[in-house]
Amino acid sequence: MQRIGVFVCHCGSNIAATVDVKKVVELVRMEPGVVWAEDYPYMCSEAGQSRIAEAIRTQKLTGVVVCSCSPRMHEATFRKCAERSGLNPYMVEIANIREHCSWIHKNTEEATEKAVILARAAIAKVNLNTPLQAGESRVTKRALVIGGGIAGIQTALDIADAGYEVDIVEKTPSIGGRMSQLDKTFPTLDCSACILTPKMVEASANEKITLYTYSEVEKVSGFVGDFTVDIRKKARSVDMSKCTGCGVCQEKCPSRKTPNEFNRGLNTRSAIYTPFAQAIPNVPVIDREHCIKFQTGKCGVCAKVCQAGAIDYEQKDEIITRKYGAIVVATGFDMIKLDKYGEYAYEQSPDVITSLELERIMNAAGPTKGHLERMSDHRPPKNIVFIQCVGSRCADERGKSYCSKICCMYTAKHAMLIRDKYPDVNVTVFYIDVRTPGKNFDEFYRRAVEEYHVNYIKGQVGKVTPQPDGTLLVHGVDLLDNHQVKIEADMVVLAAAIEPNPDVRKIATMLTASIDTNNFLTEAHPKLRPVESPTAGIFLSGVCQGPKDIPETVSQAGAAAVKVIGLLAKDKLLTNPCTAKADVLACNGCSACANVCPYGAISYEDQEVRAPGVREIRRVAVVNSALCQGCGACTVACPSGAMDLQGFSNRQMIAEVDAICR
């Protein structure tokens, strides 16, 4: 028989205002096994914990039930407290009488009654608890970063700086990400490439960092400290060790009609290409879908002109399998598709563009060499209209419910840069709200208005109608003056909402990292653990977790790196002891459990089974407790009831059911 102590927390008035804690104490005293019960205003406080410790010692408790907040909040606290007092931490159970009781019920009688039942269930469970020992698992001292944008680069640099090996997997042929597409950055207006390129070079030169570009994560198994990852290195068709990056192949390539992804399709590129001049690695890839050699077999110009003999049409995809202790997701974002926003004429007119396209047009290395011009007739525009919140803050299924956060600032930047370089151009911004929280952000926006005389109009645009003369009639509204506004623009720029990279769903599934309804990865805690996924060993960096600008992304990237370093610095990790265990006497080695195990933790071996009247060698299931994550799928699949889950055993669960239904 256990000697159980029950500790009922008031949580100030959070519990005590609704639940009659004294009555709970009084009633649980009568439960089997309970030898001690008391209440206290804050059990989690230093004083509260010392009362528990005191009772464990003086009452020689073998089990503890704390009636308090959710176990997700303080289970670990109370288990540590028990451990310090010499009690096995797994002899502690929590009855959640705050989130599941006092906070949702108003009637004291009902809430008290429910609190008692929840306590009874926990007591019934503790009566059957057995001491468990956490095992240990080793930590592979290497980290994987998925995504080679500024978030991934910064995280990798910081991890490498602490002396750990780190690999970056990047889907496109070069690292650099979205930031490499930007022209200038707010609020300082420094050139994006000037601050990014050194970081890219640093990442490629750092001997602790390995870059896998034009590669994708294909399979992930294992768990925190010991992940095994398959990386598919797509065939570049160019031998990286031979290529000198001279660029002749790209000049001579006869296939030049492929839309240039880096320039958002505003111009075309060759089939063998590097996305941009500062690409790292500076080794081109052959886009086999558009390559004449691969499509028809007749061409091979690049191979002929390559002095280094680096072109390799026979190259195959390669799978690299590596072990990692931690994985950082830094998959970034894209802009939403605008095909559902026909009223803004994005698909109908080449002069209606997105802000990212404008970014390319303004860039000296972009499709117009940095000259501001209309894509339809290459004339310089005279009247530019910016439309904010296209697809952000929407309650309908066309757009996204959230604010994309960066658009107000980059639009102010665009407006200012245009007015600065082309003072004759009129710039109008239609906004719903101008949101500029951030250091020097509002000052930046005010400069656009006060210094550069950008015309900000509060109101949304209803429709953009292309006119026969090539202008774009913008039908807007000025809500402050309360009149409709019609502007004859010759260029319209849409601040399209941003969304997580579409690949992130697939990656999150591989990592078993949770994702929200907008495809942003979920944090372990929205305030207190913002760079960790609830899945141990998975960390979040950049926009994959939520909209952010560059400074925020870099801060988060650093924070994620620190978390990774903290993990990799450990030699061993304690494992969850709540793992499955087979009762060899009942096991008949049927393999039903191994078939459902998602971790491959169950194997079979021949063991000598001894029991009264039985002595034989039999094939039985053996659980590798380092691999087992304790889901319990096997326990239900087992036809003979041999498989059980420690800490959530069949008997414990049934005891809880019985206590509730009593």
């Binding site: 109608t465 292309p466 006119q467």
Partner: protein
Amino acid sequence: MKYSYYPGCTLKNKAKDLDTCARASAQALGVELEELSDWQCCGGVYPLGSDEIATKLSSVRALAQAKEKGQALVTLCSACHHVIKRVNDDMKHVEDVRDKANRYLQLPEPYAGETQVLHFLEVLRDQVGFDTIREKVVKPFTGVKIGAYYGCLLLRPGKIMAFDDPENPKLMEDFIRAIGGEPVLYPYRNECCGGYSSLKEKELAGSMSKTILRNAEGFGAQMLITACPLCQYNLNQAPVDLPVHYFTELLAEALGVKEEVQGH
């Protein structure tokens, strides 16, 4: 292909061409339009009030009749299509409307939105197919620049009408291509012509129609086609010299059955 057909009041009177040309073309395309025996006026506008029942009943009668015959219900006039399609959606999804309407009508079998409501243009696109039409055209409108005027009622609200992309439709442009013409894309093709305001607010309707016609003309349209008698009326009232025809008139002409119709 046999369909129940709901012509609507205007098609029996001022918009006879819309109706007769459709029937002749349908016949030429092997589509049988079977006029409902005793249809009543749809009311012209969909009652937006969620508590309106009486004004929805005539549509329910037509829908239930088509259901009894086991046929989809085809309409021609944009307004009728709009009203009937939306009432059908209510009958399918709004329990309150369905209960009240059924209680009032006492139909042999309760109606719950089972009938498929199709606009004749949808029949042409999805059932007949524009490729088939292209093959059957004997007098193509080669080189004629035609603007499609959709108006509001066929497209909006997009979720319920599900006719085409409400902001950037292409069905009628595809139709124009099928009869050999050259479609003219102009942005005002889904803007309002003024609707029923032309009865009392002639100036308002006039200015709106004028904007549409001027814009279409600017993009080089030689004529416009529409599916709505009210749109045609409003556009024709505007002082712009751009003819507006029913799409079925052009279809009948392309298929070489226009004379037959006029012969009647």
